[in-house]
């Protein structure tokens, strides 16, 4: 294990790792290359190939040109929809989760363990159990087929994760710190603002990345509760595939896929450490 020389076994290890890496990268490389090839070029050969000349026009078409259903505005309105759902829902669920996580771990109140236990059941309850009730709730409060309806869903459902993340982080803060502050007369919000929040940067980053990635990538609620121009980008991609099924435009579609995946990919590249921490924190519930 501690051998750093280039024995045959080491070469084999590097070879295998490189092959694995190539396999994991291949789909991304193929799509990036395709996004730079013309539809005709792809149609003559296969999806897998080198661009003969760079067709940057695919990106312009994907962003604001091609048609989904009757609307020909490209992927831009749907990207905007996704942003208008993901950003508020991420902020709300993270802030509320931080306060609630602090309340159940450090402030303590009667019934805190019970309510915390119930809230974390949300990690396991399948979305299919909530589809019909959400349909009715959204219709009754007039938010069906609106972006705010999706914000509401993702905020409330996201709480299960954000409360869990924050609670597990705050539980390690010494209780004496809180007790001393309370004796000094500091209240709930003051302690949160002055003591908890300044200590929270790492867990808030983890939570924000987790929530953003999940809400941006979510599909089922988007496709169930919104139609047409109100849909998030995941639902629009599926609608696009269906719309161009007869005359595929793989170059433009590839560009659309890249654009749709870019926000979460960039977040992953720049916040990878926190992304992985969220993964493991979510797993070891």
């Amino acid at each position: 294990m501690r051998d750093r020389s280039f024995a045959p076994s080491r070469i084999l290890i590097y070879l295998v790792v490189t092959l694995f890496a190539a396999a994991y990268l291949a789909p991304l490389v193929v799509v990036v290359l395709n996004s730079l090839r013309t539809n005709e070029e792809i149609a003559q050969g296969s999806m897998i190939g080198w661009p003969q000349h760079l067709a940057w026009g695919n990106y312009a078409l994907a962003w604001s040109g091609f048609c989904i259903a009757e609307t020909c505005a490209g992927i831009r309105p749907y990207m905007l929809n996704s942003a208008l759902v993901t950003i508020p829902a991420t902020i709300f669920s993270t802030l509320l989760g931080a306060v609630a996580g602090y309340a159940v771990s450090l402030w303590r109140f009667r019934g805190d363990n019970w309510i915390y236990g119930i809230v974390t059941l949300g990690l396991f309850l399948p979305q299919q159990m909530r589809l019909l009730p959400w349909t009715i709730v959204l219709r009754d409060i007039g938010l069906i087929n609106t972006l705010w309806g999706l914000v509401l869903i993702h905020t409330i459902q996201g709480l299960s994760f954000t409360v869990l993340f924050c609670r597990n982080y705050y539980i390690a803060i010494p209780h004496e710190l809180i007790r001393a502050a309370r004796i000094d007369g500091a209240g709930f919000f003051r302690i949160f603002w002055r003591i908890i929040l300044p200590l929270s940067a790492p867990i808030l980053i983890v939570t924000v990345i987790w929530q953003f990635t999940h809400i941006w990538n979510e599909f089922l609620y988007g496709v169930t509760f919104t139609t047409g121009q109100q849909q998030p980008v995941t639902a629009a991609l599926i609608a696009l595939s269906a719309a161009v099924a007869d005359i595929p435009q793989h170059g433009v579609q590839s560009a659309a896929v890249i654009i749709a995946a870019l926000p979460t990919l960039l977040i992953y590249l720049f916040g990878g450490r926190y992304f992985v921490r969220g993964l493991t924190a979510g797993a070891v519930k």
Partner: protein, 306 residues
């Protein structure tokens, strides 16, 4: 705070009023979350026992919806597919994840870059993964076409449009997407092995491979169980990936429970049956999660008693 001199009851009420924002801030989000989980579950379970079709109606039909769902070809195929997909996907992604973790644990150069490569699919949506793999696996434009163009014209790789093999395309895409998760947990496990045990094994004369197989790998089994449960949870509720990759086809060859639920609820307007299918999904999930919860409980007790 200022008027301390008052009757005995006044401070209590004003204290309540003063702390109202605090109570609201603590209770409203938690109660909304808890209430929606409980009431939504109960409501969906209730609907599964009613004759609801286009709209929810009251009434009691006993297990009729369940019998109808269980007797439908759609569900039977979905359930068989779930068994195959669940087992194949979980096993293969465990093996892949463990292999990657072991390889990365060999003090190789560029570990950070490699880890980034193996984990990036997790940042991408299942819709994107499904769409991309539907191109790669499409015999007309994907890998098969490429190999044909390269001159090997008898090459065959048509699983996407082959009824018997189509479910394996979902296995492939799912492994590509989430074996990095298994790798991340295994790698963390490998790195947290007590160095004293390793040293003790080496003093006992065990070589590197022997130490690895006999001493390090056995410590990973609690992580293995966690990975299996998380991956099974994904497999049971898989929807987006299938929707984007095969949409349940060819025919209904790659149907999965989540697609059946969606189909019954929103395409056939069979709310009662859709709810019954959703409850069946929940039961399948509980069959995985309850033993896991029991195991976790025993583990914790042992840890506190030790």
């Amino acid at each position: 705070m200022s008027n301390v001199v008052s009757t005995a009851a006044r401070p209590a009420t004003s204290e309540m009023v003063r702390r109202l924002p605090e109570y609201l801030m603590i209770w409203v989000p938690l109660l909304l979350s808890a209430a929606h989980l409980i009431s939504f579950s109960i409501w969906t379970i209730w609907i599964s026992f009613t004759p609801s079709t286009l709209i929810p109606v009251s009434g009691w039909v006993g297990l009729r919806n369940y019998n109808a769902v269980l007797a439908s070809r759609n569900w039977q195929i979905a359930f068989d597919n779930l068994l195959l997909f669940g087992i194949a996907f979980v096993l293969l992604s465990l093996i892949t994840g463990l292999a990657l973790a072991i390889l990365l644990d060999q003090r190789i150069r560029g570990e950070n870059v490699l880890r980034t490569i193996f984990l990036y699919p997790l940042a991408v949506s299942f819709v994107v993964t499904g769409t991309v793999w539907s191109w790669l696996l499409n015999p007309g434009i994907g890998i098969e076409k490429l190999i044909h163009d390269l001159g090997w014209s008898s090459f065959h790789f048509d699983w996407l449009v082959n009824r018997d093999m189509a479910i394996w395309t979902i296995v492939i895409a799912a492994i590509w997407q989430s074996s990095g998760f298994a790798m991340a947990l295994f790698l963390a496990g490998l790195r947290s092995v007590d160095t004293d045990i390793i040293r003790a094994a080496q003093i006992d004369g065990a070589g590197p491979i022997r130490t690895y197989v006999r001493v390090i790998l056995p410590t990973l089994w609690p992580i293995t169980i966690t990975v299996v449960v998380v991956q099974l949870q994904f497999a049971i509720s898989a929807f987006d990936l299938v929707r984007a990759l095969t949409n349940g086809g060819p025919g209904i060859a790659t149907q999965l429970p989540a697609l059946v639920v969606y189909d019954l609820m929103f395409q056939r307007s069979q709310l009662g049956r859709g709810a019954a299918a959703a409850v069946l999904m929940l039961l399948i999930l509980l069959a995985v999660l309850l033993p896991y919860a029991a195991w976790r409980y025993v583990q914790r007790r042992q840890a506190t008693h030790a």
